[in-house]
């Protein structure tokens, strides 16, 4: 092909091209007539709100789903893959948003599965497998023993394993669907280094993300999608965050509501020398109406702090006071009675009952209040739930439909509403904006701010520092289970937080 190309300034042949690709799921037109090209050696960001069709496009281009109509060309030839294994053979790999890994298998086995080069034909040599896999793990920034069962690792480490798996494919085209949704900042840096190396090798990378800062740092071109259609493709240097967000939502959005600092109030949660297997002598006070951001890297103990406060991880030391009295964590029910609530990180696994209705999910934690002698009072239950869902700006067609039918952002709002209905005085939110779209994030910031105005003390975790800084009064930074410092958000910058989070101490 190269021999026939005119010499000089020209576009290289696309590594992957879609023409007129459409896909329907039931009553929803997920993609309609999409034309799109991915060039070798480029990082091409796909942006759009949830439901815009980014993931559908990625899944079709990686052979997981088949288009209803339209054509996909890989290196100039039309392809019709009947599964992702065929796409892999043609050099196309994908990192899925819902990680398709197996907790009961080892890291090495997870990486080998579905990999034509690593999957043994008859007998497996686990030593050889480990040797083959170790450098990939190193490259992805997760230097664990390849024989570790995946179930022993945390969510963010799963994501790194998924990245290592795609690296091991030596693919020429890689789709990354929200690859950083569970990653902390340092892991994101390592991923970006990996992406730059791949790019230099001529690998084409499609990068699906909600995080504007990442997209603008790593991508060469940006394609914006809305309602299953292409809105625009342009070079990253020629556009701005605001312009992309406007194209995504079709309306201007504020990046985050900076909450005004409030005068010191009374402490609702006092923590002294809290220690568990993973936390070392944490001490802080949370005032009523205060929003405390919790920052930290992988395994820094961010989620562990929430688990410790509820008693899901046994304390090895420390004293807690809640409101006026001493508080000894004894589990979720006891915490609920003490007006302390935890919204878990993984909403599908730990938060929601996907096949139960929006209404039932909203009231399940506070159901006793809407019952008498064990009998439900349906009218009261419905009224309370609908009222709260409206306050949290949850969008749904029908409160009696399964919550699994909602978009990620609206699922997250249902999960928040479920806990708000228990009227907590202290609320721990574990990464509530993970993997949801810009509009829904904005609604969650507003909800947090309003709860604080109502006097709730809030601890919230986020892997995105800008939003954490913009929407908190103070930032608590954890590093390897220890508290490195608490910064006033007015003084906090991404740099100062990162210094603490990486264990470098406060800026000079």
């Amino acid at each position: 092909m190269i021999a026939f190309s005119p010499i000089g300034n020209h576009e290289p042949a696309p590594a992957l091209a879609c023409t007129g690709v459409s896909k329907r799921y039931g009553g929803v037109q997920a993609l309609s007539g999409v034309d799109w090209e991915l060039l070798p050696g480029e990082v091409h960001a796909l942006c759009g709100e949830n439901g815009a069709g980014k993931s559908t496009l990625a899944r079709i281009c990686a052979g997981i789903a088949r288009p209803d109509s339209g054509e996909i060309r890989r290196g100039g030839c039309a392809v019709a893959w009947s599964g992702s294994d065929e796409a892999r053979r043609d050099g196309v790999g994908i990192i899925l948003q819902e990680l398709d890994l197996f907790a009961n298998l080892t890291v090495a086995e997870n990486i080998a599965l579905g990999n034509p080069a690593l999957e043994a034909r008859r007998w497996v040599s686990f030593d050889a497998l480990s040797r083959a896999v170790a450098p990939r793990l190193e490259e992805a920034g997760i230097p664990v023993d390849p024989t570790t069962p995946l179930g022993e690792l945390g969510v963010s480490q799963w994501q790194l394993v998924a990245i290592a798996r795609v690296l091991s494919l030596d693919a020429k085209v890689i789709f990354m669907d929200e690859p950083t949704s569970a990653l902390t900042e340092d892991a994101v840096e390592r991923l970006f280094a990996v992406i730059r190396r791949l790019k230099a090798r001529g690998v084409a990378i499609a990068y699906v993300s909600h995080k504007m800062s990442e997209i603008f740092r790593i991508s060469d071109r940006i394609t914006v999608m809305r309602d299953g259609e292409m809105v625009a493709t342009c070079a990253t240097g020629d556009t701005t965050v605001d312009a992309v967000i406007r194209q995504m939502v079709g309306r201007p959005v504020t990046a985050g509501e900076a909450t005004p600092p409030e005068e010191p109030k009374i402490s609702v949660l006092g923590v002294r020398n809290l220690s568990t297997r993973k936390l070392r002598r944490i001490s802080f006070d949370l005032a009523d109406g205060e929003i405390m951001g919790v920052a930290g890297l992988v395994a820094s103990g961010r989620s562990e702090l929430g688990r410790a406060l509820l008693g899901l991880s046994p304390l090895t030391g420390g004293e807690l006071t809640l409101a006026d009295g001493t508080y000894l964590p004894r589990g979720v029910r006891h915490a609920m009675r003490s007006l302390l609530a935890l919204v878990p990180e993984d909403r599908r696994r730990d938060g929601l009952f996907m096949r139960m209705s929006v209404l039932e999910n909203t009231t399940i934690a506070a159901l006793r209040r809407y019952s008498r002698l064990g009998w439900l009072r349906g009218g009261e239950e419905r009224e309370a739930a609908l009222d709260l869902l409206e306050q949290s700006r949850t969008l749904f067609a029908d409160a009696d439909l399964p919550v699994g039918a909602l978009s990620g952002g609206n699922q997250q709002k249902v999960l928040l509403s479920k806990w708000l209905l228990t009227f907590p005085k202290v609320l721990f939110l574990d990464d509530p904006t993970r993997g949801i779209d810009v509009g829904a994030k904005d609604d969650i910031y507003r909800l947090i701010a309003r709860l604080a105005r109502d006097g709730v003390g809030i601890l919230w975790v986020s892997s995105e520092l800008p939003e954490l800084i913009a929407n908190s009064h103070r930032i608590m930074v954890l590093h390897e289970g220890g508290l490195q410092g608490i910064l006033e958000s007015a003084e906090a910058t991404q740099e100062s937080v990162m210094r603490l989070a990486t264990g470098h101490g406060p800026a000079p």
Binding site: A335, D350, I364, A365, L367, D398, G404
Partner: protein, 333 residues
Amino acid sequence: MSTAAGRGLRGAHQFTRPFIGLILVVALGVFLSPRGAGGGIIFLSGGNLTDILLQQGEIGIMALAMTLVVIAGGIDLSVGSVLAFSASLVGLLLVKWEPRLPTGAQIAAAVAAVLLLGAVIGAVNGIIITRLRLQPFVMTLAAMIGVRGLTRWMTGNTNIDFGFDAAASARFSDLFSQKPLILAVWAVLAVAAHLVLSRTVFGRYLRAIGENEKAAAFTGLPIRMARTATYVACGAAAALAGLVHAARSHQGNPNDGVAYELDVIAAVVIGGTALSGGQGTILGTVTGTLILGVLTNVLRLRMVDSNVELMIKAVIIIVAVWVQRRDRPSINS
């Protein structure tokens, strides 16, 4: 937005769906039924229809409680053995036991003791499953084997034949084999189970626990208590079915009720309850029980070989579950 009309419509749909299979099977029954001397359809005669209900009474009562167990994410394989245990024990208490009590009091004491012990077996199942974290299949399989052994050992592996005339066992047998009583008990329990599932906090908890146990734990739901309660209900229901069984067969046979658990589970599954937990209705289970009953009845009226009957049942189970899978709304991931 949600409207009352929309809810009503979907509610109506949910209400009718389990019946469609039943209507089909009844239509098949009418079609296949032999004609009587006067040209009447034997299948539709009043006596035949109530016989179907009566024959399914034992399975039906157990299937109600099994529905609760399965919705909460469990299974109970021990019901057939508990039924035999209950039938044999009531026999021992009425035939071998000679207390200085009026006959009525002796029957009441025996019935109470049997129901209580059935509940205790269920409680043991539930407590071991939830405290020692044994899989429900494994624990209740062990209970199925162990209770069968207990029953045979306690009876010396012989039938306890009931007496006649004024004997306590005879009066018990007369009372508990009455058609109206059995049907009334079944109906009352079905309504009660339906209300528990649809109108109580406990019922909502069962569905939540069966759907996602991790989320239930993070929500602080009383998982162990709720699941144990379903096994207690199942043990008591199996004991009650055993009382009916003993009365109807006029004996306590320690070897009866073998493989009944499979009929019970089949009725639950045909009724649309997911074995994976979280979803199911009592209405569906009652319908599933009746479908199996009508089918058996029609095939027997036609004098079909009972082994062929089993094969047809197998096909019905597969078709019923497949049809329900197809129109279950898919969840967007």
